[in-house]
Symmetry: C2
Subunit: 569 residues, 2 copies
């Protein structure tokens, strides 16, 4: 971006058969100095579709985004399911690397199609919400494009600004949201990436037969497993099915992590949401996929009471963050807050944690949904208060002197209280990503009985967390949705199918046993980056208040020992 030039480069041989998180973390670790300033000239944003993204493999439409995070100060990978990644892959682009900084004040749009790429001026979209901007962009560039963009939060260069991708209806609702990489992209001078895969060559598949065999096995597993099958939990209620389940377990954080259960939780449950969506009709009719070719289809679309103005999906973590965590139990308010987040380019989890901390700090009352919506208007208006909010949980806590700060490595803790469910706490503490439930989703085993069972209160969780972190890193490289893990952890042929599908595309000879090794390689790369950036075991800790303060109703504290945490890596 320094001289606004575009280069197509052959993929170095060493990067062959790396994809998604495997490729973004490798490039970031190689090219970004670990101690650089995240918004300075040395940082980069890397976008890489997964290994099988763009093929007809089921539920494989993920794209990873990497860079040094302004939120955590460490390496970051965040990924999203979107046709954008599929289109990039079909153009046979392994990764887009955005580097340098434009010296002028103009902002740019990168347009990519089969003929090449160009940078166009994007100034006219500055200050616009993304719902309107994406509509404009589809009008200008046609219906066959994928869009990646950053919003007003990134224009503020704020640490809670995500990269937004189009959903299947063209809405700005699919986010590589965590860790503030939107600000890194915007600080290069880049506002949008438009990709058009018309007449694209498609993903090269070295061994069609093996590939087809693999995806058959995987599809079979996905359509059989209770969690992922048609009419199963995710397909029927979306991820929000977890509200009642986690509430029942006493691990659904209320009002800035001051309790783990509420009798009002059912008002924002997946069941309630499905019922409302059905009643309201219109754009919200379920089931809905986040990208073409998904067989799980958990992305039901939330709409207003008239069945209009679709928001996109309300995920469990978003519903929790903007709902119970703020003392809000009204799906329409939560929907509106989620719409604001999508429109502004804010990660919903971080934003919900932030609003709750602002509530604890006295900026507004717990439960005051209207004030919460107004708070996000401050971001839109780029006021000082908006700048505070857009910089996330820890930042907002400091502005208002709040010491109960639910973060690890500066990133807001998601929707599962680690005092009631210890394994997920081990993941929050030890993943190089900062508090991230997706990095090693112990909930699967501790609560859902997937991949075995484990008592949520058992404090020996280093092995469980490590194993899941390794598997997750590999899945995040594959381009498959992490939700395939529910099926392949329980159905061995599904896992075989995944490996065969990758071997089919790349002509490689990976074994099932190699999955953990691939994961370990990726994690080693990330952990080494963080170590060089200044992270130590002292950063692999949960916030002090979770160690000191019992969580009603279980009245558990986070009592996993530091030794157990340090055994993970």
């Amino acid at each position: 971006m320094t001289d606004r030039s575009i280069k197509f480069e052959d993929l170095p041989e060493e990067y062959y058969a790396l994809g998604g998180r495997g490729l973004t973390s490798t490039i970031v670790a190689k090219e970004v100095p670990p101690t650089c300033h995240p918004l300075g000239p040395s940082n980069k944003v890397v976008l890489a579709p997964g290994l099988v993204t763009g093929t007809k493999a089921p539920s494989s439409g993920r794209i990873s985004v990497g860079g040094k995070s302004p939120l955590t100060g460490g390496i970051k990978e965040a990924n999203a399911g979107t046709s954008f990644g599929q289109k990039v892959a079909r153009l046979r682009i392994a990764a887009i690397v955005v580097e340098g900084k434009a010296e002028d004040n103009d902002k740019y749009l990168l347009k990519i199609n089969k003929d090449g790429a160009e940078l166009l001026n994007a100034n006219k979209w500055l200050g616009k919400g993304l719902y309107e901007a994406y509509k404009d962009l589809y009008n200008e560039f046609g219906k066959n494009v994928g869009i990646c963009g950053v919003g007003i939060a990134a224009e503020l260069l704020s640490a809670n600004s995500g990269l937004c991708f189009n959903d299947i209806d063209g809405l700005p609702s699919r986010y590589a949201g965590r860790g503030g990489l939107g600000a890194v992209m915007y600080s290069r001078g880049l506002k949008f990436i438009i990709v058009d895969d018309t007449d694209a060559p498609g993903v090269e598949i070295k061994n069609e037969e093996l590939f087809n065999q693999g995806i058959r096995k995987l599809r079979e597993a996905l359509t059989t497993h209770d969690v992922t099958k048609p009419g199963g939990a995710l397909n029927s209620y979306g991820t929000d099915v977890l509200i009642n389940i986690i509430n029942e377990a006493g691990g659904l954080p209320q009002k800035n992590f001051s309790a783990g259960q509420s009798d009002q939780a059912a008002m924002v449950s997946g069941e309630k949401k499905a019922e409302e969506i059905k009643k309201r009709g219109g754009a919200g009719q379920r089931p809905h996929a986040c990208h073409p070719g998904c067989v799980i289809q958990c992305s039901e679309v939330w709409v207003d009471p008239n069945g209009e103005n679709p928001v996109g999906v309300l995920e469990y973590e978003s519903t929790w963050a903007l709902g119970p965590n703020c003392g809000i139990y009204d799906l329409d308010i939560i929907g509106e807050l989620n719409r604001q987040c999508n429109d502004l380019g804010l990660d919903t989890i971080e934003c919900g944690d932030t609003i709750a901390v602002a509530m604890e700090g006295g900026v507004l009352d717990f439960g005051d949904g209207q004030k919460a919506i107004e708070l996000l208007e401050e971001v839109r208006n780029k006021t000082p208060l908006g700048r505070i909010i857009a910089n996330g949980t820890e930042y907002t806590a400091r502005a208002y002197g709040v010491w109960r700060v639910p973060t690890v490595k500066g990133q807001g803790i998601p929707a599962y209280d680690p005092r009631a469910i210890k394994g997920i706490g081990v993941t929050y503490a030890t993943t190089p990503m900062g508090a991230d439930h997706t990095a090693g989703y112990c909930i699967a085993t501790e609560i859902m009985g997937v991949g075995g069972t484990a008592d949520p209160r058992d404090v020996k969780k280093s092995d469980l967390s490590r194993n899941l972190q390794l598997a997750t890193a590999a899945v995040d490289a594959s381009g498959y949705c992490l939700f395939i893990a529910f099926a392949i952890l329980d159905i061995p042929s599904g896992l075989e199918g995944v490996v065969e599908s990758i071997n089919g595309v790349y002509g490689t000879d990976l074994k099932v046993e190699d999955v953990a090794k691939i994961g370990q390689q990726i994690l080693d790369t990330e952990l080494n980056f963080n170590k060089a950036a200044g992270f130590t075991k002292a950063h692999d800790r949960l916030p002090e208040f979770m160690v000191l303060e019992p969580l009603p109703p279980t009245n558990e504290v986070f009592n996993v020992s530091e030794e157990e945490l340090d055994k993970v890596f």
Copy 2:
């Protein structure tokens, strides 16, 4: 403070002949968990007069304040010269430890005299500026008290809130300012400490003869050395004498460290200031000491054009921070900004760095003194913008997306650009305190030719910085002002005198050679705390922009190697 109780405890034997920084850092390291939240229940504030504070030893009125810093996240010691420390010592109190957190919303005043101590309600002073509050407090508690207080910045629990002590005229101008310990004290529930030494027993001196011999030698050195003698540099012009000297060296940072020299610097020089003070008359007549018994007397008092409304001293670093670093070259505006800092409880260096970063971020223009004054009114009014500013340089940079952030370990870099003068940069990078010129003042040797000479641009400065850091830690424990170092580095009998004076008070048998050992012990304690808090060599670095960006007019970058930095400790 949890139950608002006060205990007098005998000094444990292991703490005997520890004082000042030696005692604060030892207690903090022993009693505060390194990974605790600085504003949470586990942090403490420790105030300890130096080893000879309260005696008639010349220039020995320092008091140290310690705790875990909300600004750096590491251990912090900040000290000030004030009669407050002398009074505490004369009551034979080795340290005041403020611990726990009041659960109620009331704020308290700790009153100490020869009969004991009590906690009084301090709510009536909340929201008041400290100039007015100190006047009230002297009216209420009498002229013979020393006052320690925290201001509106601490009421915001902000990371740039210092502990303020009375000067010799009772003004709130003597600060243990750096690192945000004001917020730590206020978060315990404590707003003021009033100490009255009427009929105090005084400091016990074990060997009067040796003590008297020691202070004679020291006084002789102080009154002989060019820097410290009556009519010498400090006595004639105050610390501000450095403006012209550092500007000449190309190391006086201008406009957020974008140049190292300005032809306007002379307008705010010590010479110019002395001339103005003389012309204006009134309260500002020089020379002025910061505490009774100082022979250096560098604290000339700044007044308004009518010779009224005394601010207190304008130190070199304050003048620079609020002046040239903001593109401001008007002593009256700088004086007003310094008054605001004193009144609000903000550290001047951090505040000047903050305003300059806000200027770079477009909040106001470089050079706009009026707007700068208004910006500090935002702190007084507790607005969101005020909360941003009160949280310091790095925090403000993040609010406005500024990547040229002059901080180390989160603390703003003081008045000497390390690109033009490398040794001070080695100190900024490696001291456990975050960027702190006083921690190992290489300027003495590099610019002033004290303790030998060194080429400012020579990059081999690890030995110089280490030696000065060790000596400084020992001086900070002694209770002597750091400025005695100018004399005792050049005059061996002065150093002997210092050691004899300590042996005289404590009946100890320290040798001159032990000074470095004492310093090493203190630094080891601090470095170990920081290591446990999560600091690594990656934090011992200057900001990226100083490595990348040449500084006019020398066009030097900070080119001390990481190996050289890592050789310090």
